[in-house]
Symmetry: D2
Subunit: 376 residues, 4 copies
């Protein structure tokens, strides 16, 4: 395999992030095929052309089916609004492409399951954009846990918050609808936390949850006196039971003033604890019950080359990776999975579990009852 | 009222803390009657005498009923193991004394209710040792919320952790029994968090919870191969619904390595957020959605004379209060309630709510069902 | 020795702090003689009487010579404005009393030297109020260094800042004069940092410095248009050479907005680093170049019973000591030095070195030349 | 101008960083010409070819003069060891190229001056790799100061530390020689701090300094018993006087265990303070003496789109930029300076001041005397 062609649908937040990642992954890692940026899709077509020029794609198109059909395209990246993820992914799989899909896989768990079924019947490599999993600090946390650095895991706590829906007078948008957005904070943010919980502690078995729409209506436009209902949750919290019997607590809010990209967790073990916060994404804190009591304390591990693949970006510790670098690592994982003919992490299959959990939280929030997680 | 005599039962952690507080409250605040340290009770009697000498009490006794009966004693302070709180408090009330009781009021909610009933029928002033409520930083948080600094409260999260039961090989003690200790981490730590939650957001209406004994057995003695069952919970977590409709999440662990006195919370509002952590008890963090976006951020408010009664201890900001200072403020509150003939905060009545909540958490942890809080 | 009588001059910030410390030291530590609070001095006499009542002293007086002459007084505590420190201390020594003197010893180095000469010729025990030295975290830092935890010390940096003179329009006071206040920020704050530098690294041999009066004049009264000259420095910085050859950098400002009690330092060693900041006085940070690189990082040591004498105050780690607790430890040190008939730390002799350094900084700031430290 | 061709000399730490930056600058910013990655130079030639392939350059070469002479190359980027910076830059200028030079400009101040003279006589745009200047947080700090957010600046303090030479037994390399490396920590790290000091406070007029080689000799090879002299400084500290009369203190160490990329500073003003630390490069801390005292405190400003050009990378605040992103901003500045036909910041002229200061520190460290800064 000498090179791989990329078709990217979307030019927004995630679209640009993907474009940058595919544009630099070879330079950063070296051990991947050459990447050809072939087709960029957005509407209208002059927007697509303009961004194709800026991002370095060979051509733009306003027709995503044209992109999917292009024989030069080997990997289809989907960064469009959630509502169309499933349809595009199915088309890409049908065309024999590898699929790099932004989370969530679909608006409903049923659609996500259907998508997985098709993917598993194809020869395609798939990955879903749970990019925080690729932080070297998270990788090191996983290694520490696997190596027994904190003993047996006994408890997990996590929070994921932003404040983009904190203002009660912010105008109503499609994000407030079940039809177009599906879940609220759970779909935007909560699923990222679940991806970390599962990676660090293991699969989740059941949960009981509460959800809340703290801003029940919003003005139809900025400053309007007419208001429209918000259909999905602003805040959700859950008590988790992992398959290994460990308990956990998670909470997420899109209405948390001051939190810009807060994804914090604690993993409690029988011999220590690990904590992390994405707003300081280059720091992992580790406590171990070792050595003299007077010298025990939480140690701040500043990411560096000792935490792969940090060193691919900067050979000196403490210099800091950024958010966009996580996507480069994600792209690298997909490319290596193609080269090595193995599943990428997280594949559609992995992602289905994360999404099953957030849908279970939403369901328990409605019913008040415990919900078993099932991806069957 | 020229002076008040104090009888203190117990000389351990809280006993010493009370002795120091009663010994310095007049010097710190000025606006209270003279305090006479009259009787100190512990067993055996030479221990009582020795500590009476060290702590400056007029005499020691090994008989707490002797202390309660002493006509020179106006206030009975009870810092004994939880199991005997109720009996001693009832005796002190019967003898016409004011009662300063360490938390929890009793091992069971029924006993706590019974105690309250007696107290309300007496002319006594009562206070329970929920000392974290008296931190000037907490007082300022309450003031900020009351003044609308963060708008309407929409969410609460809190955690309270220590690591005194984190070591799986720590020997079994009476702390592990329902008969002697009652609840586990909920009684030791969880109740403090609930006191803060209620003070900041209001009374709690119902909850659903999970509890877990992560170390199911412990060696009967250090290094022993024989093990005995741990009967109460190491970890508890709950989803709260406050009476005002706000949702909350709380979690507590006595098995959290690295946490020494962690009591952290977040109060989310429609216009800002307040966060706090007792391990940095002189800092309150405040975010407000005001002014230019480029200058919005969490502000760290370092306690100072602008946060009463800090200035009674030190006239300069940032110099730091310590844990023992909180008990001085608590004692001041009791003394002022006596002088002003009003209820102290938190009185037995206030405390009963906090304890009703932790018992509800334990119950929900057992049954898996939602529990309504009732103190009737 | 069954008991010791205390005479305290001054009822302000430090006066109250001393009163609280002498009032509680026996209860906290146990291993000291009983303390009799005998005489409290302030002017006018009704103020003295009122505070004597509040602080628990047997009597008040407006005449400090009366206090010094009182045969019931064994220890004279001097917490008056700096200008009269020397005269009072000399009188107390002449009367055969032990002397607990707030820093600085005197306005000029010559006066401090004269005072030391008299003290050394007496049988008195002396201590100077460099209270930050008594923080358990500082004690632990000294122990770590002595034990080689960071190898050989190679560098020191420190800062001490407050903002009580940061406002350019704050009214002129006696603090601005050389005659009444002597040095500016160096005398108020800088000397504390030097006490830590010397304790951690050793005596200082020479230095070169810069000083600056950033607010050259101040209104004679609040809001006045008339302004008066500020005669002493707002900011001072120096490059130090310690006697052991280590270099250091120190800086101090009384005009540093936001700093309330900032005393921060770094001690760099060949195998690690220690850092500290008094605004988080219960935390010591330690880096050691040990173990796998991926697990190296700054560790936060939260003060606890493993850091004596923390456990005398609270038997559980992380609960936090406060500023006033440091004075209790200082008083304990003086009392133990009396009981054991040894020099207290820091005695007048130790303090003279600290004060020689700040006067040298002031002198180098004026002349621009290197100044050798000499206390001869 | 439709496109610009880049020739890059060096493939190490900074070489890769430049390659990534030129490869993504168009995608990130849009408003620059197309970038052609033309020639990559390293030795031997197969290494050059291999990296040319990885980094996306059209060809590799082992001959930097060949690169400089290539008519397709418009911009020559120099990321080689310091020793050859001057020679290469002169050749590039002679060939009519724009020059992107890693710091420092040259080993000696005389060479740097000579280089500036040639550059100023050319039509070339120049920029020197003082990349920390381009951090949006730093840009915001400059804006805040310019807008008077902290009043008039009265004091500056800064530190810059790493630990790459902290181990006393690390083998001797060319870095230890004056002939090949020139200055020690001043050239590697100190100059970055000076670039920030000058940007935030203004040009520096004079200084007095101390320098120290804490590890006087090093083993000639790992584990060797033969040792060789270290000729340049490990630690340097200086007292600065800025042209506007403000005083400052700076210190730098390459032997500071635990510091990985620490560049910290404080800017004290008459109405507030700004602090920063590169190890948390997305946070700026601001204190303002505004509003009620009880609500004053240091505010942490988490970088976001309100701090341009952060939004070019990520449209959501708090997501974090990384070290490599700073180089993209630097490249953008050079490209815009070419497009707009103006000086870039920092040009050779700006950089000469920074380097004059570090050479002055070294000189004062040798002579012990005050040194005036001059770039004439």
């Amino acid at each position: 395999m000498n090179s791989l062609g990329v078709g990217l649908v979307g030019t927004g937040f995630m679209g640009k992030c993907h474009a940058l990642a595919y544009g630099s992954v070879k330079a950063v890692f070296g051990d991947v095929p050459d990447i050809r940026l072939e087709v960029l899709c957005d509407v209208p077509s002059d927007k697509a052309d303009s961004f194709a020029n800026q991002f370095g794609f060979a051509r733009g198109t306003a027709d995503w089916r044209d992109l999917v059909a292009d024989p030069n395209v080997d990997i289809v990246c989907i960064t469009t609004p959630n509502k169309v993820h499933k349809e595009m992914a199915l088309a890409a799989l049908a065309a024999g492409k590898h699929v790099h899909l932004e989370k969530p896989m679909a608006l409903t768990l049923e659609d996500a399951k259907a998508l997985l079924t098709v993917a598993e019947g194809s020869g395609a490599r798939t990955i879903v954009g749970y990019n925080y999993l690729h932080n070297p600090a998270i990788g090191h946390a996983r290694k520490l846990i696997a190596d027994g650095a904190i003993g047996r895991v006994v408890h997990f706590r996590g929070m994921v918050d932003e404040d983009y829906q904190a203002d009660p007078e912010l105008a109503w948008t499609w994000r407030a609808t079940k039809a177009d957005a599906g879940l609220g904070t759970l779909g935007d943010l909560g699923c990222h936390l679940i991806s970390l919980a599962a990676a660090l502690v293991g699969p989740i078995e059941s949960l009981v949850a509460e959800t809340k729409t703290v801003h029940a209506t919003r003005p139809v436009g900025e400053g309007s006196s007419e208001r429209r209902e918000v259909e999905n949750e602003d805040i959700a919290s859950a008590l988790l039971t992992f398959e290994n019997g460990v308990h956990g607590v998670v909470s997420t809010s899109r209405s948390a003033w001051g939190r810009k990209s807060y994804i914090g967790f604690e993993v409690h073990g029988t011999e220590g604890m690990i904590t992390f916060d994405q707003e300081r994404m280059n720091e992992l804190r580790l406590y171990q019950n070792r050595g003299p009591l007077a010298e025990q304390g939480f140690k701040t591990l500043l990411s560096g080359p000792a935490h792969p693949p940090y060193g691919q970006f900067v050979p000196a510790a403490g210099h800091q990776l950024g958010f966009n670098d996580l996507k480069v690592i994600e792209v690298h994982e997909l490319l290596r999975s193609i080269v090595e003919d193995r599943q990428a992490i997280p594949s559609f299959k992995d992602a289905l579990h994360f999404e099953a959990v957030i849908h279970a939280i939403a369901k328990s929030g409605e019913t008040g009852s415990r919900v078993q997680i099932s991806t069957l």
